[in-house]
């Protein structure tokens, strides 16, 4: 008896096709890009404090208050 591999609507061989491999890899890379941005949103914000501090002394040479 022959065993037919089949999904609900499409044959499961679709998942082993070349174009699906391309789609999967495209999605995989995008997912990593977006998960990187997601991690960046969770972590405390990265700031170059020492650089900001260095330039800070050049700023506000006078009070800007009214």
């Amino acid at each position: 008896m022959m065993h037919i591999y089949a999904g609900i609507l499409l044959p499961s061989s679709v998942l082993n096709s070349d174009w699906f491999a391309v789609l999967a890899a495209f999605v995989a890379i995008n997912t990593i890009i977006y998960v990187t941005l997601a991690v960046a949103k969770i972590l405390p914000r990265f700031r170059l404090r020492f650089i900001t501090k260095y330039f800070q002394k050049n700023r506000r040479i006078e009070s800007r208050g009214i």
Binding site: A6, G7, A25, I32, A38, E62, I66
Partner: protein, 482 residues
Amino acid sequence: METKWLARIVGLVITAVAVGAAFLLAQIVILHPDLGVPTPIKEGLLGEWDLLYSSARPPASVFWAAVALALLAAAGIAIIERYAMRKARLSLNKRETPLSPILIMKETAGRHYPLTLTVLVPAHNEEAALPVTLPALMAQSYQPDRIIVLADNCTDSTIAVAEQHGAEVFVTVNNKRKKAGGLNQVLATFLPTARDNDIVMVMDADTSLDAGFIEAAMDRFRNDRALMSVGGIFYGENGHGLLGQFQRNEYIRYSRQINRRRGKVFVLTGTSSLFRPAALKAVAEARGHTIPGHEGDVYDTIALTEDNELTIALKSLGALMVSPPRCTVVTELMPDRKMLWTQRMRWQRGALDNIGAYGITLATARYWAQQMGIGYSVIALYSYMLMMLITVIAVDTWIWFPFWLLIGAVFIVERIVTVWRGGWKARLLALTLFPELGYDMYLNAIFVKSIWDITWDKKAHWGWEQTEQSVLASEATEGLAP
């Protein structure tokens, strides 16, 4: 303006960049087909069940390349924005950037006018909202000197209600240009006599300011005379079920982002923003010359999103602006899908129109990048959904992918953390991940429709059909008049 041609092809430019980037990535993937090939499937056992799992994951080099790409893109946009701000701060070009802090500091040196506040409340049939808004405004820890309700084409008792609550009333005359037109009328009478520190606040009649909003904003103006504008940060009101929760989560994430940017402004929200007179005067003078619009108008009456347009106008003129964390307001949400669609179509189309009108400049670079980012996210999200769909309908045996489950878990953590302050309902919705992905797909569809419309020059509208029709009708009648 020489950039007028951009207005029509703005959609094509954004589409070309987004599709181009996706195409480039697809080419790389095709040239290196091994990137997506799953490694052999191993069978594992977990308790009573047989579980099939695959250790498939991208090679380390691909993983780190994608991480680097994401960080570079984010850093690139941040650097451009920082460069634009720094350039505006130090610009001595009086014609192009009359509002640059360095110029304003020189102009106002030695002038010490007292700080005053005039609140403008545009109102079109707002008899129901004013009895809540006006007393709340007067109960703020910093009392406004004047509150002026702009009664615009009102057919209800807006005028009487406003007077009852102690506000001044300005009745617009023959205004056919909605909120922007009404504001232009009152500002034309206010600005000529306004001095450096006579701050103007524009707020919607249905907005409720959080306690301490005005005090925090006025402190900023007191401490920095080069500061041209303070914008509110908005949160969604309660109610409206699941659709309301989607919008609340969206607004919470947006405000969190603003706070993490230390108040760097995206949009000076029309719901509540404050301006120095110099800022509004400079915009009115520059229109038709260095920025789009009619000379003499503070607000661009053609723009669908006049607050976004004014923000870009001010940034183009070098103005310093901030959204302080204490300046929060609660704004109304769209109660059903149809109204949400109309509102977002207007926002999205307005945003595209605005950057098209201004062209690609240092001041608009951040906004272009944002639209291109949305364009790319449409491709990324829909291709992800397509892959999931194909997998689900083609798979004969369910296989678990631990690596991708871990990635999914990170996404869920991010969704939850970013709405944490919204309470358990917000977190619960974030935890389920897919409903919010569905909401994102809905917003993406609106983006695509806007791009389509702008490219084929379909007319955009305000979504206030009643008003729109009456305006069109009155204009048509005028045309017929002898």
